[in-house]
Amino acid sequence: MSAGRLASPSLPAAHLPPMAHLPPMEKPPALTAGPLAWLRRNLFSSLGNAAVTVALAVALGGALRALWRWATQEANWDVITRNWRVILWGRYPMEQVWRPGVGLVLLLVLTGLSLAAWRRPAPTRYRGALVLAWLLSPLALGLLLAGFELPTPRTIGNNLGYYLFRPDLLPVLDAEWRGPTALFLVALLAGLTRSVQQRRSWRIASAIVLALFVGLNLPSAFTIRSGPAGIPLPAALPLALAGVIGGFGGAALGRRLANLEGLRRWLAPLWLALLAVTLLVLTQFDVGRPEFDPAAVLVPVQPNLWSGIMLTLVLSTVTILLSFPLGVLLALGRASRLPVIRLSCIAVIEVVRGVPLITVLFMAQVMLPMFLPLELTIDRVIRAIAGMTLFTAAYLAEVVRGGLQAVPREQLQAARALGLSELLVTALVLLPQALRLVIPAIMGQFVSVFKDTSLVAIVGLLDLLGILNSITKQREFLGTVREVYLFAAVFYFVFSYGLSAASRRLEARLGVGSR
């Protein structure tokens, strides 16, 4: 509580009329800056400085000239031009390379939609859908690149029937009891319908179905079969009993439950389920055997075939897409009031941050399989993504924590006073402001993720660097190490600088509402 003003006299309204004779604003003093002034001030301010400038310029010019001569005359660029397919796609099957292409286009479309949605006030639901799309995008990318299979409709039907009813566990009815059982079930539901549903159409429909089943059983009603203890028994007797007991039982049940509000809504599903069950009874549960009969939608491409620039891009985008939500969750967990959540988040963050990335990658390759059952083998690419995601998420969590702490407490109080629940306070007020504050740091983290993907070459994956390494070992291209590494350096620089530039634009765009 501040001392504040204790008593203020009543003051006139805020808007004063404009002044009658306002002199025009003057121009600022003439520019003292300009390219020449800048040069003079920074490079040639004294004789000594001028000498240093000239010497450095000469040295730099010489180095650049040498590089230029080497690049244009001596270097053997065949190593890049003749291998560009391998560098780009690695061992991904050539006839399938449209899939990573489509994945890239999808991500770009999603990015464009998001930028458009956050540029101007957009309906919240639309933004929610975009956030969901981003959260699901790693899975979609994985399915697209790795391919997937779906069971055929026939196998779905068979498996469903088998596992829902497990005919091997149920006592299979003898042929002569199936008719009465089905009749009993139909009569039961018809009676129930009659007592709870006043509408005429329902009563008529259920009567028709009942009549249908009675008719189906008529031919067998005139046969004689052996009843209990070998006494001959007309088949009509159990049929009639089943029908009567079922009908009256259903009606009685319905009257007892009649004041149950929701029952009427369940009538239609009950009838559908009953017809299915009745059919099963009549067919003696002959629903087929469980089996898996997959139809490939996209031809499977094992992740160990992913390589080249494609692998570099997949590793970095999937790591970024997965580690961002994970990092935000870790940061929120670290700020949680519940000690178990807070302490476990702190443990994860601090342990992971205390270990070099290359160690995490080795651990993911060597130790992750030890914690999993033997039958479950996870591909090495997936393991590398898991390791990098965990590592990046721990760093992001600390960045986001900084943002969370920078949001004034009063913002949360105002949100709570409006009646927002803690979840909504976090999602609508805390996170949007916190993340906006740390965009530069987050984007910096993403740039380093992109560059750090080159470390997977050490654990034996063929990303851009891995592929280039293996090319230099081919007899044909021995001694082209310089060309190859210069190419890699230029590639990484172009992408990293592009990301940085994009981040600056994003900051400028999202900064609109900043205080």
């Binding site: 001392a3 204790l6 003051l11 805020a14 006030p121 007020v429 205080r515």
Partner: protein
């Protein structure tokens, strides 16, 4: 919400009995008992550190009281999250520092809670928001961000934001203390207009002119105690307590 138990408190919309609150060792509230009638405008005054701000923050659980009981519109303020949510949705609050959400436009500030808490369709929330912005006199600012508005405009938006939830009670925590002098009147005018609509208002303020003109009763807080409470005429002309006389003499004779 059918699950929430309501207590019959008659004509009183806020009932506080012996409310106590400590910050560590420091006792900020030393047993406040106070009842606010439906539609009443109660102004709370007192020197800084007297607990008046802390007190109104206990009413919507921005501060938790440790002893005593508070019943708002028949709902007891307990640890039950549902009770707290129900009470908060009946109370609007206006802060000294406005506390508008800087990442949202004025319109989004006003529609956020109605859409997410009351589950109103967007069109209905926006119609209500425009109506309120017209009432506080700034419909043309709907699509600006709070940072582009003056302090007085921001505080009027904050009042509209609180009203958008259609509360029965409005709490004002020194609403004019952070404003430049020429903007105080525009906010007080809005508050005065609001007082005539019959909504219950609890206002912590240093604006004695407003207190004299608008308040039904004035409460004087000091050292975490409710020292004196009464209608403005009696309060200013014949204060009963020495502390009240001292305080009034300090602020009225400059």
């Amino acid at each position: 919400m059918p699950d929430i138990q309501r207590i019959d408190t008659g004509d009183d919309i806020i009932v506080c009995e012996n409310v106590k609150k400590w910050f560590g060792e420091f006792q900020a509230l030393r047993g406040i008992s106070l009842r606010v009638r439906r539609g009443e405008v109660l102004v709370i005054i007192g020197p800084s550190g007297s607990g008046k701000s802390t007190f109104i923050r206990t009413i919507n659980r921005l501060e938790e009281h440790q002893e005593g009981r508070i019943v708002v519109d028949g709902i007891e303020l307990s640890h039950d999250v549902r009770n707290i949510a129900a009470i908060r949705s009946e109370i609007g609050m206006v802060f000294q520092q406005f506390n508008l959400f800087p990442h949202l436009t004025v319109m989004q500030n006003l529609t956020l809670a109605p859409i997410w808490v009351r589950r109103w369709p967007q069109a209905r929330a926006e119609a209500k928001a425009m109506e309120l912005l017209e009432r506080v006199g700034i419909p043309e600012q709907a699509h600006k961000y709070p940072g582009q508005l003056s302090g007085g405009q921001q505080q009027r938006v904050a009042i509209a934001r609180a009203l958008a939830m259609e509360p029965r009670i409005m709490l004002f925590d020194e609403p004019t203390s952070a404003l430049d002098p020429e903007m105080i009147k525009e906010v007080l005018d809005v508050m005065q207009e609001l007082a005539h609509t019959g909504i219950t208002m609890v206002v912590v303020t240093h604006e004695m002119g407003f207190a004299r003109e608008v308040a039904d009763r004035i409460a004087f807080f000091d050292f975490g105690l409710l020292v004196e409470i009464g209608p403005p005429d009696q309060f200013f002309r014949q204060p009963q307590h020495e502390r009240t006389k001292l305080f009034l003499s300090q602020i009225l004779h400059q």
